[in-house]
């Protein structure tokens, strides 16, 4: 039995199992075309039942049993009511809160994904400047990280780099009267480090940060 090929190929062997399982013992037949049509239609119907409904049905049953929280959108509750999803950005642009990255689709997935300006398009310069004007003046003695004033791929990015959160502290301190040090330790306490130290970046989930901030905000700024 010479199943394994030698380094230099020898004369071509016949393939035993090719002939064993699949010899053309039947000629196409007179109604081959109708047969193919039937097979094609049944294939689609089977596909709908097994691949279209059965497969996601089984996985859904599994997910709802094992991970009901994430399977239903990773919703976050605050004081007993749902206020958002762990994974989806929302509009948090109140002067006393940490802001998300800008979203041309208004943090609404139903508006589609944002179409971004080209890398070499002069309009990108103007757009970035405009976002800078919105976010920038509050950044005292600091430079604004690009990530805070550019659009993400989804328009729904719920996270910021630690720097992009820290740069917003002077604004929040100015509006609310909270101390810079208190806000700084709040951000530092909410930094999610890379998984196992090397998978993913360090980041801050903005909604979580703001929910933590809510607890120390002066009463007039609290949402609930």
């Amino acid at each position: 039995m010479t199943a394994r090929a030698p380094r230099v190929p020898g004369p071509f062997d016949t393939i035993p199992d090719e002939s064993a399982t699949e010899r053309p013992i039947v000629p196409p037949g007179r109604h081959a075309l109708l047969g193919h049509l039937r097979a094609s239609i049944v294939l689609v119907i089977l596909g709908m039942l097994i691949l279209g409904l059965g497969y996601p049905g089984v996985i859904t049953a599994f997910a709802q049993e094992v991970t009901p929280l994430t399977a239903n959108g990773s919703l976050v509750s605050y004081n007993g009511t749902v206020v958002g999803s762990n994974l989806i950005a929302q509009n948090l642009s109140a002067p006393w809160l940490f802001w998300e990255r800008p979203s041309p689709v208004d943090y609404n997935s139903f508006n589609g994904s944002p179409t971004l300006l080209g890398y070499s398009d002069p309009a990108l310069y103007n757009e970035t400047k405009a976002y800078m004007q919105e976010y920038g003046p509050y950044a005292v003695n600091a430079s604004v990280p690009e990530i805070l004033v550019t659009v993400s791929g989804s328009g729904l990015d719920p996270d910021l780099t630690p720097e992009a959160a820290l740069v917003q502290i002077p604004r929040i301190a100015n509006v609310t009267g909270l101390s810079m040090a208190a806000l700084q330790s709040l951000v530092n306490a909410n930094i999610v480090p890379p998984l196992l130290g090397f998978i993913g970046p360090s980041y801050v989930d903005v909604l979580h940060l703001d929910l933590a901030l809510e607890k120390i905000l002066p009463a007039q700024y609290r949402s609930s």
């Binding site: 071509f12 239903n72 749902v82 509009n91 971004l116 430079s143 949402s223």
Partner: protein, 573 residues
């Protein structure tokens, strides 16, 4: 940049994932080869009876092997029935008695034509916003079925192509057996495993379509839900790439963490990077995988390096802005939760394996990165889509051997089969239809005024030109990734109809050509290798094949690259 150690460290996780998949590829490839060649495989006791049941329902005799004409008819008919069904489903999706999503109307005929063709040809280029234009019934009973069956059709055609090298009775297999085995033994088991992992990684998985709540500041936010984990699994495994959300794998529900990003990379790589080993196992020449995987890796690493280098550079356009700090690891279009290597490897694998999923905005990529993406869709074979990618690579190889044989005076033959006029004719037509399908619609679109380049600067117009070029390239290569431009509305009647035709021809003509090549090999009796046989299992041949592929592609497409990405670089991009 400030900490070079963390810079190197951030490549660790992607390197481990890449190496693990490559280490597993020979094993999985050997399994695929056994599936292709109708040999018994792992799990025979389960798969065998299931398949026999399916053959019964289909009315197919699995022992009947088809000649090329019958195979092609079965293949085309099956795909036509599938695409027609989804076309009708999308047009009348609001009248389905169940699985409707309230408020979503039926699609216009041209959008339905584009969408049904797109998913049926394994392209998954979307001209719709899934969340607000596709009902749950269309997703599950239409598009998801197309995702499985189009990937299965790709594997079936590869199996039929490979049979040409091992058979001598003039038959190339049974299409319905091939697609059934591919779906039952490869796509479904891996999809189920992948979906379970995705569920554990925190992707939504529910039949509810949305959930609403009051945000922290008070207004109502509605977020879409759905069976995301199961969708994402087959979307990436089958090199489909059409997201259940418009933002695709940049959407936090499709790709919630760095870990899910790494898993997605592995899932996309699995079949395309195993295909050379599947071929080698099918023809029982283990060493034959070496030149192919080598060629794929060389081209792929060059492409990946270009994308990363492009993103690491600061954008000179934004440099004049006071107080803006350009972090080299993050720029516009990227998501915070992925590091640059995680984002770039995902994106490069996605385009090079013809998946077309996005985890960053390609429109915001550096011009050199865009060039790299375009190159992958021009070759379609490094490693290319499920099944078809290996088919394109074999076709390129046939031409390379033919040309090489002429240069050094050797008999043009491969695995004991003579490469004659017929095989070269079909191979050449298969390769030449690709630029035709890209450039004819591109020129017609620009001359006809269906896309107007902006006059606000060379950078803007070159970027818009690139995005139209990208659109037709993506459709012709059945890739499905989109670059997008704010100046072009590609959801018009023109783009829908022309795009659909480009996708259909770009998919089915090359596949028929592969079947014809296979036929002309399958009627030959294999010859024993003589002194004139070119040794393909060598380092020299691998380098030759790589250079051949790069030069051939560059010759065909350099003018387009010059007008698009290179002009953007020249404009200071």
């Amino acid at each position: 940049m400030s900490n070079p150690l963390s810079l190197i460290g951030s490549y660790l996780d992607v390197s481990i994932v890449f190496a693990l998949v490559l280490a597993f590829a020979p094993t999985f490839g050997a399994f695929m080869g056994r599936v292709f060649m109708n040999r018994p495989t792992f799990g025979e006791g389960v798969f065998g009876p299931v398949e026999r049941g399916i053959y019964r329902l289909l009315g197919v005799n699995p022992r009947h092997s088809m000649r090329v004409r019958e195979y092609a008819v079965a293949f085309l008919l099956s795909n036509a029935v599938l695409i027609l069904w989804v076309f009708l489903l999308l047009m009348y999706q609001n009248q389905l008695p169940f699985l409707r999503t309230s408020g979503i109307p039926g699609m216009s005929w041209d959008l339905a034509f584009h969408s049904a063709s797109s998913f049926g040809t394994n392209t998954d280029f979307t001209h719709f916003v899934t969340e607000s234009q596709v009902t749950e019934g269309s997703l599950l009973l239409g598009l998801q079925v197309e995702m499985f069956l189009s990937a299965g059709a790709g594997l079936a055609i590869l199996a039929a192509f490979i049979r040409g090298f091992v058979r001598k009775d003039g038959t190339i297999g049974n299409y319905f057996v091939d697609i059934t085995r591919a779906v039952v033994r490869i796509l479904v088991p891996v999809s189920v495993l992948g979906a379970i992992v995705y569920v554990l990684l925190g992707l939504p998985q529910t039949f509810a379509t949305s959930v609403s709540f009051h945000t922290l500041l008070g207004p109502v936010q509605t977020i879409p839900l759905g069976p995301v984990a199961s969708w994402q699994s087959i979307m990436l495994l089958g090199s489909n790439g059409g997201g259940i959300f418009a933002a695709n794998s940049a959407h936090p529900f499709e790709n919630p963490s760095a870990l899910s990003d790494l898993f997605s990379i592995a899932l996309m790589m699995l079949i395309p990077f195993s295909s050379p080993f599947a071929f080698a196992s099918a023809v029982r020449r283990k060493g034959e995988a070496f030149p192919y995987i080598g060629t794929i890796l060389i081209v792929f690493f060059i492409a990946l390096a270009l994308v990363i280098v492009g993103q690491l550079a600061t954008n000179p356009q934004l440099s004049p802005i006071q107080a803006l700090s350009q972090n080299t690891f993050y720029s516009a279009g990227q998501e915070t939760r992925f590091t640059l290597p995680e984002g770039a490897l995902f994106q490069t694998v996605s385009v090079y394996a013809n998946v077309g999923a996005n985890n960053m905005a390609i429109g915001a990529l550096s011009p050199i990165g865009q060039m790299s993406m375009l190159f992958g869709m021009f070759t379609q074979s490094t490693p290319g889509g499920v099944g078809t990618g290996m088919g394109y690579l074999l076709t390129n190889t046939l031409i390379a051997i033919f040309v090489g044989g002429l240069m050094v005076g050797r008999t043009p033959e491969y695995l004991g089969k003579k490469i004659g006029r017929q095989q070269i004719g079909w191979s050449a037509s298969l390769l030449l239809i690709h630029p035709v399908l890209i450039f004819v619609p591109l020129v017609a679109t620009l001359l006809g005024g269906f896309a107007v380049l902006p006059t606000t600067g060379v950078g803007a117009s070159a970027h818009t030109f690139t995005s139209v070029l990208y659109e037709f390239t993506s459709e012709a290569a059945n890739n499905g990734s989109a670059m997008g431009s704010v100046y072009v509305n590609d959801t018009t009647l023109w783009f829908n109809v022309v795009g659909a035709v480009v996708m259909l021809v770009g998919r089915f003509f090359p596949m028929l050509a592969m079947l014809m090549i296979s036929h002309h090999f399958a009627v030959q009796s294999p010859l024993p290798p003589g002194p004139g046989t070119l040794k393909t299992q060598s380092f020299t041949f691998m380098i030759y094949l790589t250079l051949f592929l790069i030069i051939l592609t560059a010759l065909l497409f350099l003018p387009a690259i010059a007008l698009g990405p290179l002009t953007q670089i020249g404009a200071g991009g």
